[in-house]
Each structure stands twice: as structure tokens, then as C-alpha cells.
Symmetry: D2
Subunit: 319 residues, 4 copies
């Protein structure tokens, strides 16, 4: 193996740059050439491929976003588009590809492996919703961004004795809501993994008020409902006044946390090793606190599981 | 003069605690007793008044929110309510009151002076919209919170080559939008002080795209319109796709910046001095970089003026 | 079991308050009374013991330091002192004690169990040097504090093309230096677990310069030597000019990271469960990503092991 | 005028990049060509001069350090060196130079004006020690960095009931120590502008202890003495135990605060205007809250004056 390439795809996540850096430096350390593909799969189709040097990834470990940029590519969803991508890969003498992104990006990599291109995937998404790995790159940073926001909102909630609803990202996975709610000391956490029950929620809020709670934070994952919808329900069903905060896109950005930089470095380097071993269709991740690699197809054979003991704990601690 | 009191009122602003601390410590330094009124004017009516000690304000200079809490008080808007407040003030032997808050709170103080209570007002609102002072407590912190958010959003904007609309607080005053836009390197800033012109905005955005700009940040003050409304206009009138981020309540919270802690300390101490000089109906503030005090009625005789040279500058620097 | 107590001891670590909160809330949730001991073991001897309520631990999950405070206690090192402590524990009807701290504090707890007091220990130290657990409370926060400092120093290192030596905490354990060095993109990491070899270090630095490196960050754990000593060696042996930064006490403080708040909540709650099960002489911790508890004596049967694969990785990525 | 250049010199300060960006964008807005000089005056001598585009300064407003880098230049201190610089300036067709830095850099610019090169200076130094301007670029950011450090140290000081000495930058000017001490709630502030009196300090500390103060923060500017020297004095003269924290180089780095980005933008743009007006030997700054320009020679005719009312206030508030 003489040359590999790396791309970032899907929604950006803090730590993607640290992963790109690790792929590039590890590859050069191992004597390989390494190219960067710009704009994800679309750039692959268009041949936006450049050789990278050690200096290309200098001073980026601490930066949010991705220097390789990302883009949606409807064209890549067609066989024709993917064949163009394969042509470009061959044209540039690329013998293996590291794909950094979420499950949509992983699906793209799986398709490429079917066309004969060795691919290894590195999980990077703030949602932490990749099956088979305990942590994805970006989750820890997003989590810290959310709790900083909750800490700020708590200042106002306490000063004005109000109930706030904080909406965080997470369409299918409640990880961000659950961890942030527990770490932020939220009184209530609503996650997609649990059926929403307005009667139970209202009972809980009223019982808190009965015990003398004067302010309260509810964290809701967007996959359950929007914060505004929830505010309407509480107003309509129980005349409970709330304020709403939708954290939105700030959750994706920012300088990566130490933890995200470390796992991004580990995952990126491992991906290069896997390619050098001549393997393909592999995902990198963490299990039992160890960096692992596993069959890419396993990602699609189940759903990422939430640690429900944390959910129980959050209920006990918010009495 | 033997005893004064202090209260916080209206929306909370970072640095209110630093101001409360300064009032309390300066008063004690000068040999006065000082009481804290809980829950703003409503607490005044209800006699929620406690003597404070040096220790009562220990370890609060760095905290957001207000330890004295704040509340709305429809009752205080009635003469009857205000008379109750006056009774409580007299009952507690309070000879002067420091009111920390925004212009609504200042109006309440003005009413109290008409009933014979010596009042001095300290401007604290993240909107920086008090006539007669260059800076209010909380503005600098909110500004830094907003640019941190913009920095994060820029990571995604750059990575995905997208246009983002960031909505910041400011119903009547564009200070926060203007300063944040300039400091955040926003390509476009929309403030209530300038008439909104969609044609001009669209021309500007398209000209940027023409020059090769691949991403763009628009900062809009809520007083102009909501970010969602703006997104709809851009979509409808020019088919421009944008993403929206409403910063909301995080702008009110957080540990105060150094600058806000300093002016809060200066304003709070000056307020005590003014009361000790036997004056009433006075506002404290900053003009020409100096701490000043001026007639409280002047606050209502005009509007806070925006520095339009900054607006011009922002346009020149975002070519 | 009707009543337990909790204390913090040794150097403070961010997240201690979150652990105290978890102990108190979990205990109350389980129907127990819970007391807080002020000033660690010294306070135990002096009977500084107060019943805590839900409200006693409100609004502290985000605070650095420890509301229970900590103190050194030479008296507790004597049998007489410990017997006084036992008397106080019995006097207050305390049937179990949660000790939050580092290995010195754990040793104290072990002594108390020998005197018949059921004790459970929660690891909290920024050094991450407790045998038997993958993570201690405070490590993740300190790590993020260190990389923020390194990011700042890198600004100057890059601007002036200089080599900086950053000294971080860690007398016996190199965890903080290793993780921070890897996450901070340091070119060189010196840890107590590896023998220091000035010849090798100088060769490495010169080889970097030869490849065109214009600035460089060296992270050194205080257990290896001080940054100033290292600067002297590099100057004397190879005429290499460096700048020195000793991070010092800022590493202990600050609002805990999300991760530290989560594990503090988990460890604190588990400690209460262990006491309720009638067990004593137990340490709580994390292994293979799971919250565990194990024999307190095991803490002293070995040394915390560093993940040397991270050390190798850091060398490969800093070529 | 068709072409100008910009350089950064001396110690780096957060906001230098924002100033470079403003110079470049304002110049291009006005139809000028603008070049960047690398490595300060040394780069000028060596002809390290590159034409800059709008894109050259994209995405740098939020970055610490300086993309133009800085360097010491003993050669520039000789007439011969400066003549080489003048030759390069002429060779590149540069008709005016913007120098961003501290007073040493300003002196260099003054020398260049004597050799016929139109120069305008922009004050950027975290020390805030330039005569004639209320604020220099970088001061506000450094100030916030220092108070964040003090907030962290206070966590430990409170938890362990200790006295801490925090050493901040400032050889001749006490601005950083004074503002940080006031904003950080320090009990004592030692600045070069005030004669150090150990007897008075010890009396003050003991009186605090007498009133029940259990912890205390002393902020000392490096120009008074080092934190370690102070600790020795307190130990020797009064047996007062203290802990020491030397903040060091972290004070120079970091993403600039909103305020620093704003004044950097204003100063940079004004500098271009001054050059376009055909003026030379001018410094830009702020007075009475307004952006001003004034004779560069005035910088050296006096010393920056500290606001001693803040010093008095800090003493009153730390009773």
C-alpha cells in the first residue's frame, strides 16, 4: 500500500480535524502518501483530491469544523455517481479510504467497498448514535457546550424562579439529552427512547413545586418534540408557564474537548492501521474503554443503546 | 444616613451580583447598615427585606443571575402597591434605595422618589439601551457570549459552505447585534435603528457569492424580525437557503466578564456615595470613559444612541 | 440503616460538589438522613457535622471546589485522633461514611473501617492516580483546563517561533501530562513512568528543527522535573532556548466538565447503595466503561497503570 | 497612494489578527493594494513581503497570536538594518506602513518615519501601557484570562481556607493587576505604581483574618516582585503561609474578547485612513471612548496613567 485518502462527510462534529490530522500523520509516519478529499463524497466524484503534508494538518487539532469541508451529495446516492467516485479514486492511485462521519457516511462507505474500494470508517457525530461504539467524536464537546448553556440558563431560571425547557439535538438517540440533563442537574429529561407521557410529566413538575422547587430545567431531545410544542402542552394541559431555549447549531461547533481530541487521534490512527492490514469494510470505535475495530455491516444491524441506568439515576437525583 | 437598601429588578443581567456586592461593601465601609430586598419591587411590597453582612456577598462577584432575585410586580404599577412599598421602607428604617436594573426598573424608582424615597439607579441590562450611559452592566458579557456562539456557528458555516442567520436580543436597541456582528466578522448586520430593505440585503448577499464567498453570517436583532421570518423572506424572494440559530436565553446568563465586574463595582459604589450626599432621583453610568451620575429623568428624555460609525465600519470590513 | 455522612478530603478536585450532591440526594431518595462533615477528617474529629437537606446541595453541581471544604489533619494520623473521630460518628448516630478524595483520604477511610466504621470511598483527584479505576473525578476537567492553556501558549509559540515547556501536575502519575500532550498536539511528552533521557530528547528536538519545525510544545509532568530545570538542561546541554509555563493551581479549579459531573453523580449514588447493602471498606470506580465497586485494600496493592499505547501514539503523531 | 503594508511586532497580543484583518479589508475597500510583512521588522529587512487578498484574512478575527508572526530584530536597531528595510519598502512599492505592536515597535516606526517612510502605529499589547490611549488591543482578553484563572484559584482557596498569591504580567504598568484584582474580588492588589510596604500588607492580611476571613487572594504585578519573593517575605516577616500561582504566558494567548476585536477593527481601519490622508508618524488609540489619532512622538513624552480611583475602590470593596 502506497497511498490512501481521507474525507469528512455529513454534519460536522468537533474533533473531525483532530481525526484528519491523525490519519495524515499516522500515514506519513508509516511511509504512506495521503490525500485529502474536499467536500465529502461530492468532492470525490469531482476529483477534488489533494496530496497532504505534515504541515497541512499543523495547528488544526484544536479547531472545530473540518478543513476538508463537508457537503451533501445526491449524486453519490446513484450508482453512476459512485462509479465516478471509484474512477477518481483509481485515477489518483488511492488504495484505501478513511471516511470520517456519521451513519449516513458509513452507508456510503459500505457502497464503495462493494465496488472494490477498501474503506474504513471513523465515527464522528455529536449525536453519539452509531451502533457498536460507546463514543463518537464530537459527542463530548457537544455535551460540554450544552451544559455550559444550561448553566447560563439556570442563572436566569434561579433569579426569576421560572421553568425552562432546553431543546438539544438528537433525532433518534437521547444520549446528548440524557448526559446533558444528568450533568446539568436538570429536573426532567425527555428522550426518544422513552414514551412521552404528559400526565406523568405534569404530575412530576407539580410535585416538585409542592416540595418548594421554585425553578426547574427540562431537557428535551428534538426527537421527542420541539421545545415550543412541549411548552404549548404544559400551558394547555396544566397552565404551567415555561420559557423555551433551542440550542441549535452552536452544539456542532467549537474547539473540541480533550476527550474528543484523544479519541479522534486514536480512531484516526487505528483506521490507517486497518487499511495497512489490507482490510476493508471496517468501522473503528470504542468498547469497554478500548479502541476497537469491527465489521462495518454491524453498524446497521442494530441501534446504538442508551445507558438506561443513567436515566434512572437522573430521576433519583432530581427528587 | 444610617441604613440603605438594594434591590434588583427586571430581566437579570450578568454582573448584577457584582453590583450588589459593591453596594453592600461600600455601604459597610462607610459605616452604614445595608439591607437586601428579595424579588425586586414585589418583595419590597411584601417586606422581604433582610440585613446583609460582608459575608452575605462573599464569593458572588463571579456569579451570573442575582442572589436577590427578580420578579415582575403588577401591584407595584398601582399607587396602592407603591404606597405599601413606601410603608415597608419606612418600617425598616431605610433612608435610601439602590435600584439595579433596566429602564422599566428605573421608572419604578422614579415613582418612588415622587413618594419621597431617595433612590439611585444602576443600569444593568444586556441590551445596553439606557439613555445617558455608554455602557450598562451585562452588555459586555452578553456580547462575549454571542461571539462565542457565532464562532461556533462559523465552524459549521465554513465546513458546509452555508449562510447562517443568528438572532440576538435587542427589541429597540441594536447595540448587541452591531457589536457582536462586528466582533464576530458577520457579513451582514440588521438592527432596529436601520430600515430593513430586503432588496438591498439580497443584492449584497448575491454580490458576496459572486465574489466567491462560500459562507456567510447574518446577525439580526430580534427587534427587526425573527430569524425565521428573515429566512422565509430570503427563500421566497431570492431562493437563498439559510440556516437559523436563535441564541435566546443563554445571552442573559454566565459568569460576568472582567469589564462588567469592574463597571458593576464602580456603579454600585458610586450609587452609595450619591445617597450619602443626600441626593435622590439619580442614575449612575459612564460617559467619556468616566463614571458619572445624572438626573434620573434624563433617562426618559431620549433614546440611547447607537454608534453608527461602527455600523459603517462593519459594512466596509465585510466586503 | 438510618443515617450516613459524607466528607471531602485531600486536594480539591472539580466535581467533588457533584459527588456530594449525588450522595445527599440518593440518600434522601432512599429515605436516609445524611450529614455533611466540614473540613474533612479534621472536622470529623471536631464534630463539625451538620444534617443536610435537598436544598443544601441545590445549585452546586456546576461549582468547582467543595462546599464541605477540605483540610489537612495531622491529628487524624494518630490513633487517638481517629478514636475521637469514631466517637463523634457514634455521637451523631452515623452508620456509614462516604469519603470523597484521593489515595491519602482512602487510607484514612481504611483506618476507620478497622475501627468499625463502615466506609465507602469515591475517587476524586485531578491526578487520576487511584489504582483500580479508569477515571477519577476531576481528571477530565483538569485535562480540559490544561489543553485550553496549551492552546493559548501555542498562539504565542507559533507567532514567535519558539519552544515552550508546559509543566502540569502529576507527581507519580503521568496521566494528565500524557492525555493533555496528546490532546494538545504537543511535540514531546515527559512522564514519570518513562525514564528521562536528555540525549534522546535533544536529538528529537533537533530532528524536528531539521524537518522545518519552527515551534514546539513540550509537556512535562512535575514528577519528572520542574519546567525550569528542564529549560536549564536544554540550554546547558544543547543551547536550546525555551520559554517556561508552570500551570500550577488553576488545574485544580473551575466548573467541572460534563464527564466529571456524570461520573461524580454515578460514583456518589453507588457509594450510598454500597453502604445500604451493609458493606464497608469498598472503593467505587469505573472499569471497562462501567461503574464498579471493589475492595478498598486493592487500591494499595498496585499502582494505577498508564495507557502506554497513548504514549506510543503521541510519538507517532508528533513526527 | 496605491499600496500599503502591515506588520506585527513585539510580544503577541490577542486581537492582532483582527487588526491585520481590518487593515487589509479597509485598504482593499478603499482600492489600495496591501502587503503583509512576515516576522516584524526582521522580515521587513529580509523582504518577507507578500501581497494579501480578502481571503488571506478570512476566518482569523477570532484567532489569538498573529498570522504575520513576530520576531526580535537586533539588526533593525542599527541604522544599516533600517536602511535595508527602507530599500525593501521601496522595492515593493509600499507607500505607507501600519505597525501593530507595543511601545518598542512604535519606536521602530518612529525611526522609519525619520527615514522618510510614512508609518502609522496601532497599539497592541496586553500590558495596556501605551501613553496616550485608554486601551490597547489585547488588554481586555488578557484581563478575562486572568480573572478566569483567579476564579479557578478561588475554588481551591475557599475549599482549603488558604491565601493565594497570583502573579500577573506588567513590568511597569499595573493595569492588568489592578483591573484583574478588582474584577476578581482580590483582597489585595500590588502594582508598580505604588510603593510596596510589607508592614502595611501584613497588617492588612492580619486584620482580615481577625475579621474572620478564611481565604484571601493577593494579585501582584510582576513589576513589583515575583510571587515567590512575596511568599518568602510573608513567611519570613509574619509567618503567613501562602500558595503561589504564576500565570505566565497563558495571558498572551487565546481567542480575543469581543471588545478587543472591536477596537482592533476600529484602530486598523483608522490607521489606513490616516495613511490615505498623507499623514505619518501617527498613533491610533482611544480617548474619552472615541477612536482618535495623535502624534507618535507623544507616546514617548509621558507614561500611561493608571486610574487610581480604581485602586482606591478596590481597597474599599475588599474590607
Amino acid at each position: 500500500m502506497k497511498k490512501i485518502a481521507v474525507l469528512t462527510s455529513g454534519g460536522d462534529a468537533p474533533g473531525m480535524n483532530a481525526a484528519v490530522r491523525a490519519v495524515v500523520r499516522k500515514a506519513i509516519y508509516e511511509g504512506l502518501d495521503v490525500a485529502g478529499v474536499l467536500n465529502g463524497y461530492q468532492g470525490l466524484i469531482e476529483g477534488k483530491i489533494e496530496l497532504l503534508q505534515l504541515g497541512s494538518v499543523g495547528d488544526i487539532i484544536q479547531r472545530g469544523g473540518t478543513i476538508l469541508r463537508s457537503a451533501r451529495s445526491p449524486e453519490f446516492r446513484t450508482l453512476e455517481g459512485r462509479q465516478k467516485a471509484v474512477e477518481q479514486i483509481k485515477l489518483h492511485g488511492i488504495e484505501g479510504l478513511v471516511v470520517i462521519g456519521g451513519d449516513g457516511s458509513f452507508m456510503g462507505a459500505l457502497e464503495l467497498t462493494l465496488l472494490g474500494i477498501p474503506c474504513v470508517c471513523v465515527p464522528a457525530t455529536i449525536d453519539n448514535d452509531i451502533n457498536g461504539t460507546e463514543f463518537t467524536i464530537g459527542f463530548d464537546t457537544a455535551l460540554n457546550t450544552v451544559i455550559e448553556a444550561i448553566d447560563k440558563i439556570r442563572d436566569t431560571a434561579t433569579s426569576h424562579e421560572r421553568t425552562f425547557i432546553v431543546e438539544v439535538m438528537g433525532r433518534n438517540a437521547g444520549d446528548l439529552a440524557l448526559w446533558a440533563g444528568l450533568a446539568g442537574g436538570a429536573e426532567t429529561i425527555l428522550i426518544p427512547e422513552e414514551k412521552f407521557d404528559s400526565t406523568d410529566l405534569i404530575k412530576r413538575l407539580k410535585s416538585g413545586t409542592g416540595r418548594g422547587k421554585k425553578h426547574s430545567i427540562i431537557v428535551v431531545a428534538e426527537g421527542v418534540m420541539s421545545a415550543n410544542e412541549l411548552a404549548d402542552i404544559l400551558k394547555k394541559e396544566a397552565n404551567i408557564e415555561t420559557r423555551v431555549s433551542v440550542l441549535g447549531h452552536i452544539q456542532r461547533g467549537g474547539s473540541p474537548s480533550a476527550r474528543d481530541r484523544v479519541i479522534a487521534s486514536q480512531y484516526g490512527a487505528r483506521a490507517v492501521e486497518v487499511l495497512m492490514e489490507g482490510r476493508s469494510g471496517v468501522a473503528v470505535g470504542m468498547r469497554d474503554h478500548l479502541v476497537i475495530d469491527y465489521d462495518l455491516q454491524d453498524v446497521f444491524k442494530g441501534l446504538h443503546e442508551l445507558d438506561m441506568s443513567m436515566y434512572t439515576l437522573s430521576k433519583e437525583l432530581s427528587i
